[in-house]
Every structure is written in structure tokens, then in C-alpha cells.
Amino acid sequence: MPEWLLITLLILAKLGLVFFVLLTLAAYLVLAERKILGRMQLRPGPNRVGPFGLMQPLADVIKLLTKEDFIPDQADKWLFMLAPGLAAVTALLTFAVVPFGPPLTLFGHEVPLVVCDLNIGVLFFLGLSSLAVYGMTLGGWASNSKYALLGAIRGLSQLISYELSMGLALVPVVMLARSFSLNDIVMAQADVPFALVNPLAFLIFLISIVAESKRIPFDLPEAENELVAGFHTEYSGMRFGLFFVGEYINLIILGSMLTVFFLGGWMGPFLPGIVWFSIKVLLVCFFFIWVRGTLPRLRYDQLMHFGWKILLPLSLLNVILTGAFLLWRQG
């Protein structure tokens, strides 16, 4: 077999695998969330479809596919149709740079367990997460409905506010790892995960990604009891499904980013790297669900105050402190 064919096949196989695993994981994350939330509220959650409700995601997909795909009369048709895809694609693309295991050796080749190890992986992640705003905003605007528009405006300002502190929380990580590549960042955490080295950055990043994922306590863009369903009020059928799946893929992505940047990625004793990575990501996802089951929604002005007056100055301070610390240690 010629060299390039093998490499191309490997890349395709990796892509397909990641895609498949990610979608299945997202579908089952929905089920897990419903189950866990149910248990927290002393009810069993979905348990009718299949044993323990394990076929529920399948039933949901069938339901979403057979629903009417409704487009409001006064909507901007093309943008309306484009937006959910945009939301799902930006979420999916981010996974291209996530290293989910140490390099494998297959057919005498060293295969890095990452779809594409960019040397600016951190920036790729930040870029795509800033583009994720578009799917939501355009969808909300194109629906031509006041609830959708309000949800989109809220989401827009929330996401750009928290993206700042998220990006600034990553600066100390890059300073500590001395690289933008996610692989190198994981390598730099071989001894101690960055969450222990720089707990402040960890905390800021954690809060920012909860805000970034538009979930409780930061779910103002889709606050059910104020805005019906926020930016996707007018969506139905599989278009709504794309927004929905995109949200959960986003959850997994943000979880893996937290793992890579602060929890040491696939580093861990005894077990193979990919198992450690999955365990950590699932734990982070559980934490997200736990937060949803526990905290109430913030008020909008509280959200903005917290983002701009507490998180942002703290993360700036943290950048300066980390720089000073690194300089001092170098002598």
C-alpha cells in the first residue's frame, strides 16, 4: 500500500470514529442528564423505552425526524435554515484539535490520537468558540420572533462577555506550557495538572465554560420561563434537533477542553491514556449536570456584573501574577 493512501485512510478512520463517538456520546449525554436530574429530584427519569430507558435517544431522534419542519412566514428563510447547521458544525469542528490519547503505533506508523495537531490549537478552539455565536444569533434573528430575538441578543452579549475571561484564563496555561499546541499542553502536565498549579485560572475557566455552554445558571438565552425557548423558539423537527445536539456536543467539547487545559488530558497512572481522558471528560460532564440540578438561574444584570466586574479583572490579575511567578522562578 502506498504511503499517502495509508495516511489518508488513517485520517479518515480517525475522523469517522471521532464523529461517530461524539454523536453517540452526545445522544447518551442527553439521556444521562435526564436520568441524573431525575434522581436528584427523587424520580427515576426516562425508563420506558428499552431497558432502563436506554433506547430513549433513538426514540427522540425518530420523533424529531418525523416532526414537521416549520419555517415561519416572515422569517429569513435561508438564514433560518442555515443557522442550526452552523451551530452544530462549529461545535463538531472544535474536536479536530483535541488530543484524546498518547500516540499509538499502527502498521509501523506513529499515529497521534488527535485528528489534526495544529500548532495553534488553543487559538483554533478560541476562534471556533467565538464563531459558535453566529449559529445562535442568526437563528434567533432570522426567526423574526421577539422571543427568539431577545434570546439571541442575550446570548450574544453573554457569550462575548465570557469569552474574554475564558481566553484570558487560557493565557497562564499557554505561559506554563510554553506552547499553543494542545498536545504540548497535555505533555507539560505530566507531573502536576495545571488545575493545581493555577487554581484561579481553573476556576475562571470553569465558570466561563459553563456560561459558554449556555446552561443553568447561565441559561439566559433560552430561559424557558421568560422567553419560551429563547433563540430556538421557532425551530422544530430536526433543525431544533441540530441546535439541541450541538449544545450537547459543545458540552463534551468544553469538557474535553477543561480536561486538556487543566486536568492533565490523558495523563494518569495505570490505565491507558484514552480511558483516563474519557473518565475525566465524563466527570466534567457530570459536574455540568450537577450544577444544572443545583443552582438557579442568574438575573441578567448579575450575569453581566459577574462577568465584567469580577471574572475579567481576576483573570487579568491572574495573567500578571503567573507571568511574575514564571519570571521569578527563572531567576
Partner: protein
């Protein structure tokens, strides 16, 4: 300091939700398991009969007037012996909110609530129940009460003169 109270207030609920996760659920798996319904549960309405086996309802429209959602309708008519009854009696159960106000208004205790709540139906027209479906063959929760025994029919015949009817109570008499 206040901030410690805030931090404690943020952490504590996490512990509570985590603890709740490992407590048994309270859900009743409905079609297989059934909830125990209290004897005073307000479910579907019935029209009961008096101990003599005759219809209690005198078609006085009081239930219909008391109903906050106006879901009871009827047509009053009279029998040979002057006894009033409903020619037809209709309750729209897709409108009924099961408040039980009709049973409180009813002077004859004819309309009563039961523990039945399984009224779901694919055809909304079938949730409109007619008198034949509402009427039951027992006295419901008041087995001894017989309105006409106390009140008499007293339209065609004089008061207390119908067959099987007690004499009317003399209100001026001190004896019971």
C-alpha cells in the same frame, strides 16, 4: 463576613442534590403500579340514586350554576307524580376541573365525586358524558339520604300524601 455565608450557600446545595441522588425515588410506575387514592378524592362525577332506587337529581340547575367552568347542562322535566327529574343531563369532562363545587351545591346529594381519574380519550367528543353514563345504581357516599322523604313531592298530591311518603314536619310543633 458576608462572603463566607455566600460561599457556604453556594456549596451547600451541591451536597444536598448529591445526597438526593442516592435516595429512593418516589415515583409510582403508573400503569403497572397504582396510587392509593384517598376516599375523598375528587375524580369523575356520578349521579346517584336514593335508597329506594330512584334518581336523586331533581334538575334544579344548582350544580350547573355553581360550576365555575359551566360544563354541566340539563333539561328539567316532570314525571306523572310531579316528581322532577332531568330529561337529559350532560357533563363535559374535557372542561371539568374537578373542583367538586357542584357536589357542594347539590341539595339532593345526587351529584357526587368518585375516585376515577382515567378519562383520557382520543376523541374529545367522547369525553362528554350523558345521563345514562353518569347515572349509577347505588347511593354513592350517602347511603341513607333520601331527599323526597324529607321534602315531599307535593305538587300533584298534597304534601306527605304520596304513597310511601312521610308526613311533612310540623315546624310549629316542639316535639321531634
Amino acid at each position: 463576613m458576608n462572603i463566607w455565608r455566600d460561599i457556604k450557600g453556594t456549596i451547600q446545595p451541591f451536597w444536598i442534590t448529591l445526597r438526593n441522588m442516592f435516595r429512593p425515588t418516589v415515583t409510582i410506575q403508573y400503569p403497572e403500579q397504582r396510587a392509593e387514592i384517598s376516599p375523598r378524592y375528587r375524580g369523575r362525577l356520578i349521579l346517584t340514586r336514593d335508597p329506594d332506587g330512584q334518581e336523586r337529581c331533581v334538575a334544579c340547575h344548582l350544580c350547573s350554576a355553581a360550576c365555575p367552568v359551566d360544563c354541566i347542562s340539563m333539561q328539567a322535566t316532570e314525571g306523572e307524580d310531579g316528581r322532577r327529574y332531568a330529561a337529559w343531563f350532560r357533563i363535559n369532562f374535557s372542561r371539568c376541573i374537578f373542583c367538586g363545587l357542584c357536589t357542594e351545591a347539590c341539595p339532593t346529594l345526587a351529584i357526587q365525586v368518585t375516585g376515577d381519574f382515567e378519562l383520557a380519550n382520543r376523541n374529545p367528543l367522547e369525553t362528554v358524558w350523558e345521563k345514562e353514563e353518569l347515572l349509577v345504581d347505588h347511593c354513592g357516599q350517602e347511603p341513607d339520604y333520601n331527599f323526597y322523604r324529607h321534602a315531599g313531592i307535593g305538587v300533584v298530591a298534597g304534601r306527605g300524601e304520596n304513597p310511601g311518603e312521610d308526613k311533612p314536619v310540623d315546624v310549629r310543633d316542639l316535639m321531634p
